[in-house]
Amino acid sequence: MDFDLSEEQRLLKESIDGLLTDSYDFDARKKYQKEKGGWSKAVWGKLAEQGLLGLPFAEADGGFGAGAVETMIVMEALGKALVLEPYLATVVIGGGFLRHGGSAEQKAAHIPGIIDGSKTFAFAQLEKNSRYDLADVSTTAKKGSGWVIDGEKFVVLNGENADTLIVTARTKGGRQDKTGIGVFLVPASAKGVTRKGYPTQDGLHAADITFTGVEVGADAPIGDPENGLALIERVVDEARTAMCAEAVGAMDESLKSTVEYLKTRKQFGVAIGTFQTLQHRAADMFVALEQARSMSMFATMAADFDSAKERATAVAAAKVQIGKSGKFIGQQSIQLHGGIGMTQEAKIGHYFKRLTMIENTFGDTDYHLRRVTDAGGLV
């Protein structure tokens, strides 16, 4: 049992923290937001230069063979700086599908472009009525010489900029059947793909995407086109784990800014941090943060669990804790900042908004609490 970072991991943390300190203050973020698709190609290039986009890929595929802990380190740093670039969509999710389900040819075709920063991905999964159920898929993929995809996907992060879409589609059975779901690689430029991009509430960028008779090759499915759900669940669990770390970074920074504000803001002739009621609120925020940090680590280390069920339960439990802690820290950060916390100009509100959207991505607190409950709990 060991919770310390290894020497390499410590260097990784220093390197990404250093990069973001230099290139990602709040004003820079506002500029990046205005670029096409909502993020900065230059910053993405720097992440590629430092090797961060290749971290989780096997050395044989040109990557560094890093594990879940390295992803946690990166995501936490991205959360602290409120980074907009599509690391989650491209490296964690796109990369995750390729690593866990991709054929040798698919890996060779796609991984180098991720690692060198020339290509990004987006995960087209959510549908109008699917909510958090990964098996609820109405988009269809029909087999001919290749595959023909029809359907609508919503709130696809990085959907407008992505070069390649990873699309979940039904190949067999009824809308909520657990079998008959496939995962398809679809070039964003394919005929019949219509993308409508927009900024999200938390400042990221997403798109609603329509697939109308989109033809892709016989080599488009990642893994078994009739039994893709296990792969989807695995990759989404990794995405949830990564988002837990991102949220911890955002919470950590929210608490730091709030404490700093309590020390400097004066009312009644004294710093407001001298008032015990505010001190205790901040102490409760610290408790919430540490509990969230513990569960982020738990989910991260669960990546090595042998049992898929235990792994999934651990991730669900972490998502519950992160949801609760994130909501508490986010709301109280605004409260303790007072009026200034309500302004777009102050950074603190943007952490609150990101934390809020993280809670509602890939299952909210209630959804995951039910998953833990149905699994029989943790004790």
């Binding site: 060991d2 969230a292 940090r293 991260t300």
Partner: protein, 396 residues
């Protein structure tokens, strides 16, 4: 970063678990499971079994009878002990006065007291709190006046846990009334049978007798009973209270209680089916288990940190343990109340010797719920813990 325990640690857990399984008297375990009070004899009998095994004062230095275990081993031992469940070693002797004596006491005091603490030949109690000194402990008034080779002690202590069983007390007494309040305090130990010591029971809201008032009326104590230096008692008290930070989370206790809740909730019916099948109840239970898992991980982080970097600099996460640990313990007793519903009401008073056990297990559920309100008050109330986080961690 790695969550897995080593092969040696897993083997150690097996060894500890097997020992508890074979050696804890079944009647003692049953009473623990049901939340009943144990008699003095039952507790001492178990602690002597533990001491005979060499585990009575496991965290003491080896030269005084400790085990030399790693911090992870201590963690495993405590968790297994709490989950079995079996009574924890008497904190007042083993975790509190023992370490003060071997750290600040003289050679004679070490020889005189330490082996007797380990074997519970002396039952110790703690004379810290006073009627006017709760969270503001340093305002204490009990006075020890030096007269020749004796201290004359006058004053009153309160909330003195299990003083009715005690042979010895360690006491914070004011030896310099002119000094600033933290500066004039001394750490003095003495015999509870001394002339002028009176113990009066305090009945708590659960109907139990755990705590007492203790009065000192011209109690004569030899000056050799002073531990360390005169007027340095506050330092020793801070040292004492800073020890065993991780035990306070009581993760094993809550784990055991959650298992019991699941067991009972599968037996008690509601709407013609077991309570455990009620979705709302199950979700509350799961929410509590998630909080507990987070706390367990936080505790493991502190334990691993202490193991690697020593206990000198406390991990900031350690202040979370008391607050969350007590909240979760209280939640588990609330869940038990929910399971038992209207049958929480019948009242069943029984003596500390366990006599008059006329009711079944249901009788202890409400008292245990009432009694557990104490856990967010004692050992530095949760509000004091928030003050500590505010100052030591957040720098406010």
């Amino acid at each position: 970063m790695d969550l897995a325990f080593s092969k040696e640690e897993i083997a150690f857990r097996e060894e500890v678990r097997a020992f508890f399984r074979d050696k804890v008297p079944p009647e003692t375990r049953r009473k623990m499971v049901e939340g009943r009070h144990l008699s003095k004899d039952e507790m001492i009998a178990w602690w002597r079994i533990l001491n005979k095994k060499g585990w009575g004062v496991s965290h003491w230095p080896k030269e005084y009878g400790g085990t030399g275990w790693t911090s992870v081993q201590h963690y495993i031992f405590n968790e297994e002990l709490q989950m079995h469940p079996a009574p924890a070693p008497l904190a007042f002797g083993v975790s509190m006065v023992g370490p003060v004596i071997y750290t600040f006491g003289n050679e004679k005091q070490k020889q005189q007291y330490l082996p007797r603490i380990a074997n519970v030949d002396d039952w110790w109690c703690q004379g810290f709190s006073e009627p006017g000194s709760g969270s503001d402990l340093a305002s204490l008034k009990t006075k020890a006046e030096r007269k020749g080779d004796k201290y004359i002690i006058n004053g009153q202590k309160t909330w003195t846990t299990l003083a009715q069983h005690a042979d010895m007390i360690f006491c914070l007494c004011r030896t310099d009334t002119n000094a600033k309040k933290q500066m004039g305090i001394s750490f003095i130990v003495f015999d509870m049978k001394s002339k002028g010591v009176t113990v009066r029971p305090i009945e708590t809201i659960d109907g139990g007798h755990e705590v007492n008032e203790v009065f000192f009326d011209d109690v004569e104590v030899p000056v050799e009973n002073l531990i360390g230096e005169e007027n340095k008692g506050w330092d020793y008290a801070k040292f004492l209270l800073g020890n065993e930070r991780t035990g306070i989370a009581r993760v094993g206790v809550s784990k055991e209680r959650l298992r019991r809740i699941k067991d009972l909730a599968s037996k008690v019916e509601q709407n013609g089916k077991p309570v455990i099948e009620d979705q709302g109840f199950r979700e509350k239970l799961a929410a509590c288990e998630i909080e507990l898992k987070a706390l367990e991980l936080t505790q493991l982080r502190v334990v691993a940190d202490e193991g690697k970097h020593g206990k000198g600099k406390p991990n900031p996460a350690s202040s979370v343990l008391k607050i969350k640990g007590s909240e979760i313990q209280q939640t588990t007793t609330e869940l038990l109340m929910e399971v038992i519903g209207p049958f929480a009401a019948p009242y069943d008073v029984h003596g500390d010797d366990g006599s008059n056990e006329t009711m079944d297990w249901t009788a202890q559920i409400a008292p245990s719920y009432f009694n557990n309100r104490k856990v967010s008050i004692y050992g530095g109330s949760n509000e004091i813990q928030r003050n500590i986080i505010t100052k030591a961690v957040l720098g406010l």
